[in-house]
């Protein structure tokens, strides 16, 4: 049994146990959730640390496991890790544990909340380790209903209903379009399998007709694009995250949203490289929309959650730019930004949730003086914002700079544009974030922090360490050299420069 299976199954087992526990056993429910996600996180860390030494299974994937599932369609439960997803799995497991930690602030319907959260975590982790395109989709969709219910029942704000529906409908549309692309790939490849390894080798030897590739990549680009809030399909993200309870926002913005990009890098680029060439320019323009337009929108936000939500949409633009660069440097940068932004977004939403619990407001100008009253949280917030504006020393910087380096060779004009975008986001983070908490006079009184929050705080604190630590990550990512199969040399070829 692969260690990845443990990472995936533990939270689901936890969900099963939580479902069986009585409603009143609040402590037991918390303990089960913490224990299962904690164990899952430990497994993920172990996997990450032993990754370089692990034996390679089929297709160059490590920790590989395959179980036949539907023989008539050749669908298999298949998990494995390589340089592209090992960091994401680690990030996912850590953010999941942190999300469970900060959920101590949930007061009502504790059992249901933890049940849904554990199902969502299982889905998220499963999506990133599946190397069967059916399960890839299946696990992602597993998280949809929990997201809907968690925002609907435990969410906040007046337009909660609107936000819930908007998010759910957008996500479903994106997922279905992506599913059409995936099934089209299955049908057109002629391999009659959903197994990504066989599909990859089949398509490397017999690439699809360029027209078909264009169709497949189009489906995948827009399907996954909607899931990652590609401009102009991004409007669900800030709204949804603004209304979501803290844990859901952390999991969704931090981890689940990366699913779409991961899908593009893992499936769309290697299997339809010529299709990618055809869509390259469109993608580059759209990601400019993300970086410039959404950065601009974020600048005007007065609500902390909306600011983080919009800026996270803008950050996704960098990842798309990395993909559009179509070379190894850009892609490595994109993977690094994904992992770094996962931590950053989870930290930011965790902090904003904490501030909301303390102050019952998310208006940024009400946070004046917070640094003095909550030095710890204030410092974390300042660090998160600094990381957000890409200050050297944080993983985001490393990732974004790598993306820009990668893109320079193929898309120089876009790089110039995006560099300005980065400046905008940077200025916004400086202007909007730390400035207010750093002011010396407070407008709201702050209650002393309860010990209940300690756990959450510790978890949040560990994020900052991690955001810095992830700088070390590029090493395993570089190994995608061997795993990013490259039919027709499409990926390495410089774009249309």
């Amino acid at each position: 049994m692969s260690i990845l299976t443990f990472i995936l199954v533990l939270p689901l087992i936890g969900a099963g146990i939580v479902a069986l526990l009585p409603k009143s056993a609040k402590g037991g429910i918390r303990a089960v959730a913490l224990a299962t996600t904690g164990l899952s996180m430990i497994c993920a860390i172990l996997a990450f640390l032993t990754f370089n030494g692990a034996a390679e299974g089929d297709g160059g994937y490590k920790f590989y496991q395959k179980v036949a599932w539907v023989t008539a369609l050749d669908i298999n439960y298949q998990v494995g890790a390589d340089g592209i997803n090992i960091g994401l799995i680690l990030m996912g497991a850590i953010v999941s544990f942190a999300a469970v930690c900060v959920s101590a602030s949930i007061q009502e319907r504790i059992k249901e909340f933890h049940f849904l959260m554990l199902i969502m975590i299982g889905g998220i982790l499963g999506a990133f380790m599946s190397i069967d395109i059916f399960f890839f989709y299946f696990f992602h969709e597993l998280a949809l209903v929990p997201t809907f219910l968690m925002i609907g029942v435990w969410g906040r704000g007046e337009d909660k209903n609107y936000a819930t529906y908007k998010m759910t409908l957008y996500l479903t549309l994106g997922a279905l379009v992506a599913l059409a692309g995936l099934v089209l790939l299955y049908v057109q490849s002629g391999a009659k399998t959903f197994d990504l390894i066989t599909l990859t080798s089949q398509l490397r030897d017999n690439p699809l007709h360029p027209g078909t590739q264009t169709a497949v990549f189009g489906f995948l680009l827009f399907g996954f694009g909607i899931l990652v809030s590609l401009w102009p399909f991004h409007t669900w993200a800030p709204l949804g995250y603004g209304a979501a309870p803290t844990a859901t926002a952390m999991l969704h913005a931090g981890v689940l949203k990366k699913f779409g990009i991961y899908g593009l890098i893992r499936i769309a680029l290697p299997l339809a490289p010529q299709g990618a060439q055809a869509w390259l320019e469109v993608l580059a323009w759209l990601c400019m929309g993300n970086i410039l337009y959404c950065g601009w929108v974020a600048m005007r936000q007065k609500n902390l959650n909306l600011l983080i939500g919009n800026s996270s949409v803008a950050h996704m633009g960098f990842v798309f730019l990395g993909i559009a660069s179509m070379n190894l440097i850009g892609l490595s940068g994109a993977v690094l930004v994904m992992v770094a932004h996962g931590f950053l977004a989870a930290l930011s939403f965790g902090l904003s949730g904490y501030l909301y619990d303390q102050k019952k407001t998310l208006e940024i100008d009400q946070y004046g003086g917070a640094l003095k009253q909550m030095p710890f949280i204030g410092t974390l917030l300042v660090m998160a914002m600094m990381a957000g504006c890409g200050l050297p020393g944080f993983a985001n910087f490393a990732g974004e700079v790598t993306v820009l380096f990668g893109a320079w060779t193929s898309l120089p004009w876009f790089v110039v544009g995006t560099a300005w975008g980065a400046l905008i986001i940077g200025s916004l983070c400086i202007a909007g974030g730390p400035q207010h908490p750093a002011r010396s006079f407070g407008r709201l009184g702050i209650k002393p922090e309860g010990s209940r929050q300690l756990l959450g705080e510790t978890a949040l604190c560990s994020f900052d360490r991690l955001t810095a630590f992830v700088r070390d990550l590029p090493e395993p990512v570089d190994q995608q050299d061997s795993t990013l199969h490259d039919p027709g040399g499409g990926i390495h070829r410089k774009g249309f420069g």
Binding site: E141, L149, V153, T172, V187
Partner: protein, 481 residues
């Protein structure tokens, strides 16, 4: 003559007659035992059917009746559906002042009609079995005799059903007039050389129109919402599951076994029907406030999804239909069971009556959530895998004929629209505003078992589709593409 081939139908009819006779001696307050006896009898028949494989296929009654793996697959489907629906009827029958015994035996007769329909290999048997289903349903829909809505539903079903039967018979007459054949095997050879005979085509279109009424496909769907809303809930469940499945069984057999050459010319027509049915059902369901009416429109939309499988004209399309129907059965019966349990005393079945059900009966709210999620086609529920198979079948054809992309696009839009109203129900369950004093909910052991069975199978078919998938593939093989 090979009477042994139709053992299952004969057993069901004998069971119906026994129930009808036993009704005379059972005291009024013990009528529920008739329901229990029917369930037990059907369970035995279902067990008996597990012995049959349908390969090689058997013919009976002058080749009118065929027993192949396709027929067996559907017979089991109908038997399971009837068991679950009768379990729901036992709960619902508290509302009937008289005639509980008749209700069960009418259900059994309708069931025998569906089972005959699964084996129809001749226009005469097709017509007779459909009439057996429809005529029993005229009574079942208006069984709440003292309620205007129920009577209205019965009358609407009667008039439109009669109209559809007229279409059917006229169509059959035209087909017979042009080809001189009623038998499906004979039709196949006769129509192969007459694919552009106008009169034959008009006749076949009329037959398809008649079947379209049964499955509630556009443009013959008008009756569905009214009848679904007005009928007793247990009848509606049987109508939604059994009658629709019988229609699809006949449609598949007719199109793919009797007139395959003509069916191939009609892929565009079938695509258009499927697309419009999906959009019509989903768009009309959006503003509905009555849960049964909403499920009526949703059943139209589901007929549209199933028509996609027909339009795909392939083995994988047909096996997708078979798989989808199973998931749909457990889902819909679970939803109607909840309606029966929660809205036992109120006359109307407004969605708002479900508000905060989560606090009153978390288990029921959970099952209803599972059912809505499955209808919306989201993993890990049965509805997802069914839709996945249908999408796959359509995309396989899209490689050959690109119009199928348009059908797929319509289906995706339909699913997104449907999410809005299905999730609206879930929203009401968990954070809707309570508008009236909630009624007390009592769940009998039989209903509890039914709900468990439905929920377990909804999840099982979504997570472990292997076994049913194999059965569906081998059943679709007997359609001989």
């Amino acid at each position: 003559m090979n009477i042994a081939a139709s053992t299952l139908e004969i057993a069901v009819i004998v069971l119906g007659v026994v129930i009808m006779l036993a009704d005379l001696w059972i005291p009024r307050d013990k009528k529920n035992w008739l329901g229990y006896a029917s369930i037990a009898g059907l369970a035995l028949i279902l067990l008996g059917s597990l012995n049959m494989s349908g390969t090689p296929s058997e013919l009976a009654f002058g080749n009118m009746y065929v027993l192949d793996s396709f027929a067996i697959f559907f017979k089991r489907f109908f038997l399971i559906a009837a068991i679950l629906v009768i379990a729901a009827s036992v709960e619902f029958s508290q509302k009937f002042q008289t005639g509980k015994g008749e209700y069960y035996c009418l259900m059994l007769f309708a069931l025998s009609g569906m089972m005959f329909a699964a084996s129809a290999n001749h226009f005469a048997l097709l017509f007779v079995s459909l009439e057996l289903i429809t005529i029993t349903f005229y009574i079942l829909t208006s069984f709440l005799r003292n309620q205007m809505v129920s009577l209205e539903a019965g009358v609407k079903y009667l008039i439109l059903g009669a109209l559809s039967s007229a279409f059917l018979v006229y169509g059959i007459a035209l087909v017979y007039g042009t080809t001189g054949a009623m038998h499906f095997d004979a039709l196949k050879t006769a129509t192969a050389s007459m694919t552009d005979n106008k009169l034959l085509l008009v006749g076949l279109l009329m037959v398809i129109a008649g079947l379209g009424f049964k499955v509630a496909a556009f443009p013959f769907q008008i009756w569905a919402p009214d009848v679904y809303q007005g009928s007793p809930s247990s009848t509606t469940a049987f109508l939604a599951v059994g009658s629709k499945a019988a229609g699809f069984a006949l449609l598949m057999r007719l199109l793919f076994m009797a007139v395959p050459d003509i069916a191939l010319q009609w892929e565009k027509l079938l695509m258009v029907i499927a697309g419009i049915t999906i959009l019509y059902g989903n768009l009309c369901a959006l503003p509905q406030r009555n849960l049964k009416r909403l499920l009526g429109y949703s059943s139209i939309a589901n007929a549209g999804y199933l028509m996609m499988g027909i339009a795909a004209m392939s083995q994988s399309g047909s096996s997708a239909i078979l798989y989808y129907l199973y998931g749909y059965m457990f889902t819909v019966i679970a939803a109607f069971m909840i309606i029966i349990l929660v809205m036992k005393h109120t006359g109307a079945e407004e969605i708002t009556h479900l508000a905060k059900l989560h606090e009153r009966a978390p288990g029921l709210a959970g099952v209803m959530t599972l059912a809505m999620v499955s209808l919306a086609g989201i993993p890990p529920m049965a509805g997802f895998f069914g839709k996945f198979l249908l999408f796959k079948a359509v995309l396989e054809q899209a490689a050959v004929f690109s119009s199928y992309y348009a059908l797929l696009g319509v289906a995706i839009i339909g699913v997104v629209i449907s999410l809005y109203y299905y999730f609206g129900v879930i929203r009401t369950l968990y954070w809707g505003k309570q508008q009236m004093v909630p009624e007390e909910i009592h769940v009998s052991p039989l209903s509890r078992v039914t709900l468990w069975v439905c929920s377990i199978f909804m999840i099982y078919l979504g997570i472990l589709p292997e076994r049913l998938m194999q059965a569906a593939v081998s059943a679709a093989e007997s359609l001989k593409f």
